[in-house]
């Protein structure tokens, strides 16, 4: 029995991604408010199929909120979100999620393997235990991020970068078509940065779509194919070569004079 919360009547299988089908993610007129202050205002966006997409914008621009609203984790004031042409509640098995590392309690008494196995829960469903096959899938996901040796380690005894890789492995274990990642490169060591990038490129090569909140303007053009410049509203969207321009970035970051992307944070 699958987790079909909110859609008990739905028995149809989720549609597979197809090159000419509906876009992986389509957002129409999305508005989200916290305490009556709009955080996202009338956002329209259609993600191209396949490829790595960066969501870029200043602090408080609503980047994380955009992801959470797409996933149904924060209430929408208005607007619609569709994943491969259908509401998200019917497409949960096609979605993977990497939250910010700080969003969970790393003192929790579970091993790295336990955490990665949680990515399989959507496939396991109610009342069934985590079988050996699911554990092997979780271990394989840990291998892909170079963390197989730490499978049994309690998660609090991993470094920040290792914890980030465990989160990434958990998303891989979800075997999704569309991934949402909230700052997977934030505060990680060089080895983890390389590992995360390799995973993103593998996912891209396998035809998956990855939407990442990303802070480091320097690396956007190197790491990603597309960018969505966001500051409450969508400022620009498209291939990185077209939208990562000084002019558009300056408009995104609130009209303050912006140095060219290459100079930001470089010093």
């Amino acid at each position: 029995m699958q987790y079909l919360w909110r859609t008990p009547g739905s028995r149809t299988a989720p549609e597979e991604a197809s090159p000419i089908g509906p876009p992986p993610l389509e957002i129409r007129g999305l508005t989200v408010a916290y305490h009556r202050r709009p955080v996202l205002w009338n956002v329209d966006y259609a993600a191209p199929p396949g490829g790595l997409i960066a969501v870029v914008g200043p602090n408080g621009a609503g980047k994380s909120t955009l992801i959470k609203a797409c996933l149904g984790l924060v209430p929408r004031v208005s607007g619609a979100v569709e994943v491969f042409g259908r509401p998200i509640a019917k497409q949960r098995r096609l979605i993977g999620y990497v939250p910010q590392r700080e969003s969970v309690d790393w003192d929790f008494p579970v091993s790295a393997l336990d955490v990665v196995a949680m990515g399989r829960y959507g496939k396991i469903g109610w009342f069934r235990p985590v079988t050996r096959a699911h554990k092997e899938a979780a271990l394989h996901a840990l291998e892909r991020v170079g963390m197989a040796d730490f499978a049994k380690r309690q998660i609090g005894q991993l470094s920040g970068g290792q914890q980030q890789r465990v989160f990434l492995a958990r998303a891989l274990a979800q075997e999704a078509q569309l991934y949402f990642m909230d700052e997977p490169f934030a505060g990680v060591d060089a080895a983890t940065e390389r590992a995360v990038l390799q995973v993103l490129r593998d996912l891209d090569a396998a035809g998956r779509t990855v939407i990442c909140v990303h802070h480091d303007l320097q690396t956007v053009s190197d790491y990603f194919d597309h960018a969505l410049l966001l500051n409450t509203r969508v400022v620009a969207q498209g291939p990185v070569g077209r939208v990562m321009t000084p002019d558009l970035l300056s408009r995104t970051y609130g009209g303050r004079p912006m140095p060219a992307p290459a100079a930001v944070e470089a010093s």
Binding site: Q2, Y3, L4, W5, R6, H35, K68, L71, G72, L73, A89, R92, I95, Y97, P99, S103, V104, D105, F108, P109, V110, S111, D114, V115, M118, Y121, G122, I124, W126, F127, P129, V130, Q154, G156, R170
Partner: protein, 322 residues
């Protein structure tokens, strides 16, 4: 001088059974409060149910368990919703929201008791706090041989049967929803994206804590309930890094605290030559506190001594960083 067998079976055995079941049930559900960093919720729920108990009593007009239990559950559900509402609307952190809601509801319960007892109704605020473990009697058994008679077991006191049912309910629900409880406690956001209703599990845990607290508080009092919700899981957490082991260990430690505390209260003074006994619920809470203190000191990885040893090793041999 030890008490004779009949006295033990009629007075000590039912009280001990009630204490063991109450501690086991509280420890079991307490794990999820401690892991959700909502230990205060045990405090909140066990106090907020008071107006529900009094209300159930006043409406039904009897001291039957069922109406009081329903009233208490309703009060617990109300408290859960109010805490969430105060937290959101008042923009307070959840500890502050719980503090406001449970004190107000407990105060309302106390006022209701005062009003009711003015009308000649027999309800006592003290027994809410300390319970009445010593008044649980099992008059059926007359000796070890009588325990073979099913009729003797059928005459078990109502408090013991209620606690056994609640413990069985908790164990069944934790067993059935182990995976879901684990993920909604660790990462509710991911759980929601997988289609697991994290919010429903939050309220489910609150209601389960409430049901346990209601069943337990009549026998052992709300102070022991609060201690047993937190101390055994917190001690177990210091002894292991695995969730399933922690849960089993916390139940074992709860049972140990019940046995040690009751034993110390009932037989301790007698062995020392005193004629009176101590308050059992109080001694059980003390025992659970001692167990937690021992775990803090001697826990293998998280204990103070273990940590000091690890630092000492590191000083002698800085290369051997694990």
């Amino acid at each position: 001088m030890m008490p004779d067998v009949q006295e033990f079976l009629q007075i000590d055995a039912p009280a001990l059974l009630a204490a063991v079941l109450a501690c086991a049930a509280c420890a079991l559900v307490g794990n999820f409060l401690v892991l959700r960093r909502q230990g205060m919720m045990g405090d909140a729920v066990s106090h907020a149910i008071l107006p529900g108990i009094v209300g159930g009593f006043l409406v039904a007009g009897t001291r039957e368990t069922l109406p009081m239990m329903l009233g208490a559950l309703a009060a617990a559900a109300l408290a859960g919703l109010l805490i969430e509402a105060v937290r959101r609307l008042g923009r307070l952190e959840s500890g502050a929201a719980m503090g406001v809601v449970f004190t107000v509801m407990f105060a309302a319960g106390v006022v209701m008791i005062e009003q009711a007892s003015a009308g000649g109704v027999d309800l006592d605020a003290d027994c809410v706090l300390y319970g009445q473990l010593e008044t649980i009697l099992w008059l059926a058994p007359t000796g070890w041989d009588s325990l073979r008679d099913p009729a003797v077991w059928a005459a078990l006191p109502r408090e013991v049967l209620t606690l056994a049912a609640v413990f069985a309910l908790c164990a069944a629900l934790v067993g059935l929803f182990y995976k879901e409880l684990k993920i909604t406690t660790f990462d509710p956001a991911l759980a929601s994206t997988l289609g697991i209703p994290a919010g429903l599990f939050h309220y489910g845990v609150v209601l389960l804590v409430a049901a346990t607290a209601i069943a337990a508080f009549e026998a052992v009092g709300s102070i022991l309930v609060i201690a047993m919700l937190i101390a055994p899981p917190a001690a177990a957490r210091l002894l292991t890094d695995r969730l399933a082991v922690q849960i089993l260990l916390s139940v074992a430690l709860g049972v140990l605290a019940a046995l040690a505390g009751y034993g110390a209260a009932a037989f301790g003074p007698m062995l020392l030559g005193a004629s009176h006994s101590l308050n059992a619920a109080g001694m059980i809470a003390v025992a659970s506190g001692l167990i937690l203190a021992l775990a803090v000191l001697f826990g293998p990885r998280h204990g103070l001594l273990g940590r000091r040893r690890a630092i000492g090793r590191l000083r002698r041999d800085p290369e051997a960083v694990a």
